[in-house]
Amino acid sequence: MLEIGFFYTAATVALVATVMAMTRANAIHALIYLIVSLLAVAVIFFLIGAPFAAALEIVIYAGAIMVLFVFVIMMLNLGEKGDKQERQWLQPSIWAGPAVLSAVLLIELVMVISQTSGPVSVTAVSAKEVGLALFGPYVLAVEIASMLLLAGLVGSFHLGRRYLERDNLEKQGGQ
């Protein structure tokens, strides 16, 4: 079965990328591998018949959450050596690993799309069913999740605001 082969390829990519992410010394390099790992997990979601979960995985995990990581790492890395570091990051030895792993995923995607009667037609659970369940029996969980997000918003605003204010105070004190 071709579908099984797709699954094992994606699973291998996910495991290798996660191991590489956990063993990197540089946080940005680890982050690139982590994004590849999340993309591979999204492929697995797609193959097991959860296309909506796959889309959310890419948009929220690989998109939004990883961008938060990138922002914070870049905020911490401010300095005069940033330019040199930037040039170092462009060396092929650094992006070759993630590039190869994501190329495997890309080849897999092209093969899935090019065959019409393949895993694409399998939709075990459609997005409509998920939506009906989410706002039917699980509506209380949605409310709790919204309160959790509000708490996260207020908490991170509080922490970040104090960070910025102390920065300003120190600058004023130094002048």
């Binding site: 097991i48 979960a53 939004a64 959450i65 990581f69 911490l76 009906l132 989410l134 999740a145």
Partner: protein, 104 residues
């Protein structure tokens, strides 16, 4: 309803391996950014297990729980990265072994 041609065991195996890698990373790394990344990996592995089980029995509950896990991960990482900024500001390092004392 069987939309799943891949054996559930194998997906759960991948999920538990991912979880184990994340937990190992959590234990061996001392940089707080890597600790947060390991937490993301572990949450993701749990979400994979939920979605696989939901697909196996053809129920939407797996994906509903996946979305709740996504919410938890987003809230956790927002607060966690705020703490990263505070730790960097206060201790001038991201090594968590320097921040293991409580005040008092």
């Amino acid at each position: 309803m069987d939309g799943l041609n891949i054996p559930l065991n194998h997906i759960l195996l991948v999920s538990s391996l991912l979880f184990a890698i994340g937990m190992l990373g959590l234990m061996i790394r001392r940089n707080i950014i890597f600790i947060l990344m390991s937490l993301e990996v572990m949450l993701n592995a749990a979400a994979l297990a939920f979605v696989a089980a939901g697909a196996h029995w053809g129920q939407p509950d797996g994906q509903v729980v996946f979305m709740l896990i996504l919410t938890v991960a987003a809230a956790e990482v927002a607060v966690g990265l705020g703490l990263v900024l505070q730790v960097q500001k206060r201790f001038k390092t991201l090594d968590m072994d320097h921040a293991n004392r409580m005040q008092g």
